[in-house]
Each structure stands twice: as structure tokens, then as C-alpha cells.
């Protein structure tokens, strides 16, 4: 394979750069950027970005081999946000990580912005695949993983999916075919936050509660049955997240199988009034809600003054 048209550069190795306390602090800032940016743009998703925030922070600040100054470095690890409506979570992490200025978040969703409503790889530095129509990201990641194997390239490809998204059949097409290719360089993170946009009513609660998208599915059994390595973590607990990453790294290049991380989280995690509330799938916080979120997330942390 000719790779001459690609720039030659080495991404940074990060494993274990930060401890869980440092990661938690970053995650709180990310959550603040999420809710404040959406309020600023007057439209956007909240619950899904918040549930995924810790996982995104752990990946970008502690795990992936990346270099923000070289977003197209050929041997960087790849990340695909298959649940593309959670773009603001990814953008907030990319900004803090140095891919573009944090101030640019103020252009989110605006005309002419590099920060589209859904991730656009052609516009945003650090975005490895365009997403937005749900269910497609794992296929793209599988293509990258197959390509890496064919070219003997050593990077790892990470894909994050929603639990509602996993109702899409294409997810299972990718799940069924991936083990054929021995892609132990591919990890799918299922952000099982227990809610989708609307979904089914909960069985024994009032009509405004909703049931879990995959509540009736034994996800671990299913993924194992399809031939994947499976790990389960509390996806809002950095300790558990980092242990899972250790296992993924150990399996990379050795296990002969793709890995799934079943990441059990809460939708809207980290802000009292959004957590577990299906209506906060998307929404715009009032000034009072913003103030409360800010207090809960940043307290008196001056570095929180990021926007």
C-alpha cells in the first residue's frame, strides 16, 4: 500500500498519564462545557454527552495514542462517536485536549462553524469519522481495523455506541462480521445509559418514565455469543474504566477477537436535574439551571472559567 500521501508522524503514548482524580476534574469541566455550550447555541443534546463524558475523557487524556497537533498522524489511535448526536461531548473533550480553542465551542451549530450539529470529519480536527445517522459507526471502525490488519499498522480503533442506537440492525451486522477478521485492534464501547430519546414506557412507573432500550437483553451474553471479548464496567467510574483499558491493551494484537465494553452509565450523569430524566435527551438550560449546574460541577474551581 502506498501511504506516501499521508504525513509521517508519531502520536504520543499516553497510557496512565493521569490519575483518576485528575481525570475527574477534567470530566467536570467537560460537563460544564456541554451544558453551557448547548445553552449558548440554544439547541443540542445533553443526556448522552453527559453519560459518555468520563469515557471520552479517559480515552483522550489517558489512553489513546494521539497528538492534537497532528490530527491526521497515520498511526494515531482512532475514535468514532457512532452516537453522533453527542457531538458536543466529543467537541468539549477535543477542545480541552488542544485540538482547537475552547472558545470555538461558542460557534457550535452556528452557520459556517467547524463544529456541526453532528460530527463532520471534513471540518473538525480530531474527528475521525462523520456520524449522525445512528448505527453506522461500528461498520466504519471495522473497516479501519481490517485495514490496519492488512497494512500491519498497530493503532487501535475505538467506537462508542448508544444503547438506543444498538436497536439499529447495522450495529449487529458489524458485530456478526467483525470476529471473522480477528480484529483485536477494535473496541466497541456500548454506552448503556438506560434511556434513548423516547422509547418504551416503563412497566411499573408513571407514563413519563421510560424503560431501558436494552433492558430485556442480556447484552454480555449476546456479545459473547457473537464471538466478542466482553468487559462490563461502571462507565462513570474512572477506576473501572482504566482497568478495562488495561485489559483491552493486553488483548490488542493477542486475543484474535474484537472487544466490547459494556459501559453502564446514567443518562445526564453528573448534574442533579438532568440525571436519569429522559426529557434531558436534549434541551436548553435556563439561566438558573445553568447556575446550579455550574455550582455542582465546578464549585469554586477557577479553572472552570473556561467559557
Amino acid at each position: 500500500m502506498r501511504t506516501t500521501q499521508q504525513e509521517e508522524a508519531s502520536p504520543q503514548e499516553l497510557h496512565g498519564a493521569l490519575d483518576t482524580q485528575a481525570l475527574e476534574k477534567i470530566a467536570r469541566r467537560v460537563r460544564w462545557l456541554i451544558i453551557s455550550t448547548v445553552a449558548n447555541s440554544k439547541a443540542g443534546h445533553i443526556g448522552g454527552p453527559l453519560s459518555a463524558a468520563d469515557m471520552l475523557v479517559a480515552l483522550y487524556f489517558n489512553e489513546m495514542s494521539i497528538d492534537p497537533s497532528q490530527p491526521h498522524a497515520p498511526d494515531r489511535d482512532r475514535f468514532i462517536l457512532s452516537k453522533g448526536h453527542c457531538s458536543i461531548g466529543l467537541y468539549s473533550v477535543l477542545a480541552l485536549r488542544g485540538y482547537f480553542p475552547v472558545e470555538e465551542l461558542a460557534t457550535f451549530d452556528h452557520g459556517g462553524s467547524r463544529l456541526q450539529g453532528h460530527p463532520d470529519m471534513k471540518l473538525t480536527p480530531g474527528v475521525d469519522a462523520s456520524t449522525g445517522s445512528l448505527g453506522q459507526g461500528l461498520s466504519a471502525g471495522l473497516g479501519m481495523a481490517i485495514g490496519a490488519k492488512k497494512l500491519d499498522r498497530d493503532f487501535h480503533t475505538w467506537v462508542m455506541l448508544g444503547d438506543g442506537e444498538s436497536e439499529e440492525g447495522q450495529v449487529w451486522e458489524a458485530v456478526i462480521s467483525a470476529p471473522r477478521f480477528g480484529v483485536d485492534n477494535l473496541t466497541a464501547i456500548f454506552d448503556v445509559n438506560g434511556l434513548q430519546q423516547y422509547g418504551w414506557p416503563a412497566q411499573e412507573r408513571d407514563r413519563f418514565d421510560r424503560s431501558e432500550p436494552l433492558g430485556h437483553v442480556d447484552l454480555e451474553a449476546v456479545l459473547t455469543g457473537f464471538g466478542w471479548n466482553v468487559l462490563t464496567v461502571d462507565g462513570n467510574d474512572f477506576g473501572q474504566i482504566l482497568s478495562a483499558f488495561d485489559q483491552v491493551r493486553a488483548w490488542h494484537g493477542t486475543s484474535g477477537k474484537p472487544t466490547a465494553i459494556v459501559s453502564r452509565t446514567s443518562k445526564g450523569q453528573g448534574i442533579s436535574f438532568t440525571q436519569g430524566v429522559f426529557k434531558w435527551h436534549n434541551g436548553v438550560a435556563t439561566p438558573e439551571q445553568l447556575a446550579q449546574a455550574r455550582h455542582e460541577l465546578l464549585g469554586n474551581d477557577p479553572e472552570g472559567e473556561l467559557q
Binding site: 447555541s41 439547541a43 443540542g44 453522533g84 451549530d109 452556528h110 452557520g111 459556517g112 462553524s113 456541526q116 450539529g117 453532528h118 463532520d120 462523520s130 456520524t131 449522525g132 445517522s133 445512528l134 448505527g135 438506543g164 442506537e165 436497536e167 439499529e168 440492525g169 434513548q196 430519546q197 423516547y198 422509547g199 418504551w200 414506557p201 407514563r207 432500550p213 426529557k279 435527551h281
Partner: protein, 318 residues
């Protein structure tokens, strides 16, 4: 001034109350499409199917075999693109009375951007045998179409816009399939439009009038069936026709009008719509202006076409 999606929510609830063949099938977008009104008020007429549009179309077909007439609630793009093969085989080829309510189709979808814009639905659905294709102008036209759709024996695709526009019709409007509407008279040019864009085209005609250009406005909301003679007659002796649509310039309303006129001789046709490119996430006004569908941009385009009738050599980009 009411958004079509709200009218759709109210009307589908009232249809479901009076007609037990009506079911609303949702692909996890009830709160956007407003199917949520049926979900909360009439849960037995509501079937949630999750984020699985292909399966939803198959389930809808299955329900029609028992006499049901299901309405599908999701964004247009997740019907006409994500589930096109299912619509083709299970709905179009069997002529099943499934109602495809394509919400948020076109350019304007509340800043979701190009992944959620359906700018190909009119091309795709026009080429689908047995399909009725309706694109209402406003709340009144949509409301009037809905009982007709409910009673129609074959499949129907209907666009339901997200945001409100200045109404074109009023509560007295009566829907008649195929009918072409002349909404404004004018001898200099005929503007042919569809859907909520017609409201903006009428505004554009006002702008043109300020410059002394009198535009006829023809509204085509029933793309299939269409009264071809009615369209030809409506255009009459107009020296120039400009089609305007929230859709690719290829194969949509402009294609339809060109196809009809090209079989009849008749005036030169200029097609106006989304040029052959993808768009972005931004507020409506920004999008309409940047992508040429605001009244101002439409008016400018028409003035330009009237001024410069012959094109230089041109190869359209692939």
C-alpha cells in the same frame, strides 16, 4: 401560524380517535414528530419500535395485512434513505396502505445539519411505483390532506415540516389529489414551488413586484399524482418558469416540471433548489439565505434568470 408537525400531532390523534385502523408507529422520535400526542392520549393506537426504521416498515406492512393503516413517525431521511429497500419491496411493490410521514425533510431541521436533511426524497419517492407523494404548503393544507391520506388505499409519502411558516391557505382549504394551485398572478415569470417553500416564494414574488417584475406563483403539493394539463395551463404563456424547492436541483420538483413541460413544448424552465451539494447545521434563516431559498435569494435568482437567458458552456460537476 402553527408548525406542521404540531398540526400533524393533533390531526393524527383525532384520526386515531375516530378510526381504529389508524396506528402510529414510532422509531424513537415521537417527541420530535409530535406522535407523542397519540402516545400519551391514546396509547393503544401507538406502537413504539425503537431506532430501527427498516424493521418499522416491515412491521407496518404486516399490520396492513390485518386491516390496519399505519402511519410512520420518524424523520423523512430515515424513511426514504434508511428504509428505502423496505419501502420498495414491502410497501410499494405490494401497494400496502402504509403512510410515510417524513418529518423534518428538506433543509430545515433545527440545526441538526446535513446528516438529518433529506434533499433527495422527492426524487426517490417520485420514482417509486404506487406511491402518492404529497408536500403540503402549511398547517391548513396538511390538515386537509390527512383525512384523505387516511382513506387512501395505497401508500403515501407526505412531508411534514418542522417549523411554522406564514400560511398560504386557510381553514376553508379543500384537498384534491393532483391539483395545481395558482396563488398569485403575474405575466413576467412563473414560480413553481412546493411545500413550505411556497410561503417564502410568495414573499419573494412580493419582493420582485417592488422591482416591477410580476411573478405568477404556482404551488404543486401533489407531486404524484399530478394534473399535468393543469400545470401546463397554470403556467400558460409565461415566458419563463423557475422551480423552487427545498430539495436537490436534480430530479425533484424541478425535474418533474421539466419532464412535464418537455413533453409539451412550452417555456424555458430554470430549476432552482439546493445546488448539488451537502449543507450544514445552522439556524433556519442562515440556511435559507446561504442555500438560496430565502425570499430575497429566490427573488434575485429570478431577476437574474430574466436578465440573462442564455448560458455559456457549462459542464455540471460530478
Amino acid at each position: 401560524m402553527k408548525a406542521q408537525r404540531n398540526v400533524w400531532g393533533e390531526e393524527i390523534l383525532s384520526l386515531a380517535r375516530s378510526d381504529d385502523r389508524v396506528l402510529v408507529l414510532d422509531a424513537d422520535l415521537a417527541t420530535s414528530t409530535q406522535a407523542v400526542q397519540v402516545a400519551t392520549e391514546l396509547p393503544d393506537s401507538f406502537v413504539e419500535l425503537g431506532i430501527a426504521e427498516a424493521n418499522m416498515v416491515g412491521v407496518a406492512f404486516g399490520l396492513t395485512t390485518l386491516g390496519y393503516r399505519p402511519w410512520l413517525s420518524t424523520f423523512g431521511v430515515f424513511l426514504t434513505c434508511r428504509a428505502l429497500d423496505q419501502i420498495r419491496m414491502m410497501v410499494s411493490q405490494t401497494n400496502a396502505p402504509v403512510r410515510l410521514a417524513g418529518a423534518y425533510a428538506g433543509l430545515l431541521n433545527g440545526s441538526s445539519g446535513k446528516t438529518h436533511q433529506d434533499i433527495q426524497d422527492l426524487a426517490t419517492m417520485r420514482a417509486m411505483p404506487n406511491m402518492t407523494v404529497l408536500v403540503p404548503a402549511d398547517e391548513f393544507e396538511l390538515a386537509a390532506m390527512m383525512p384523505w391520506i387516511a382513506d387512501h388505499d395505497g401508500p403515501v409519502y407526505v412531508r411534514v415540516a418542522r417549523d411554522a411558516v406564514e400560511p398560504v391557505f386557510d381553514a376553508d382549504y379543500r384537498f384534491s389529489p393532483g391539483r395545481v394551485h395558482v396563488l398569485r398572478q403575474g405575466d413576467d415569470v412563473t414560480l413553481v414551488s412546493t411545500g413550505v417553500q411556497t410561503s417564502r416564494v410568495i414573499e419573494a414574488a412580493g419582493l420582485l413586484a417592488e422591482d416591477g417584475i410580476e411573478a405568477k406563483v404556482v404551488h404543486v403539493s401533489s407531486l404524484k399524482p399530478i394534473d399535468e394539463d393543469g400545470l401546463v395551463e397554470a403556467i400558460g404563456a409565461s415566458p419563463l418558469v423557475v422551480t423552487v424547492e427545498e430539495h436537490s436541483v436534480h430530479a425533484g420538483l424541478g425535474g418533474l416540471v421539466a419532464e412535464i413541460l418537455s413533453g409539451r413544448g412550452g417555456p424555458r424552465v430554470v430549476r432552482h433548489g439546493l445546488e448539488d451539494r451537502w449543507s450544514e447545521s445552522a439556524p433556519n434563516d442562515f440556511l435559507l439565505d446561504k442555500y438560496g431559498l430565502s425570499p430575497r435569494r429566490v427573488a434575485d435568482r429570478v431577476a437574474q434568470a430574466l436578465g440573462a437567458r442564455s448560458h455559456g458552456p457549462r459542464v455540471t460537476a460530478g
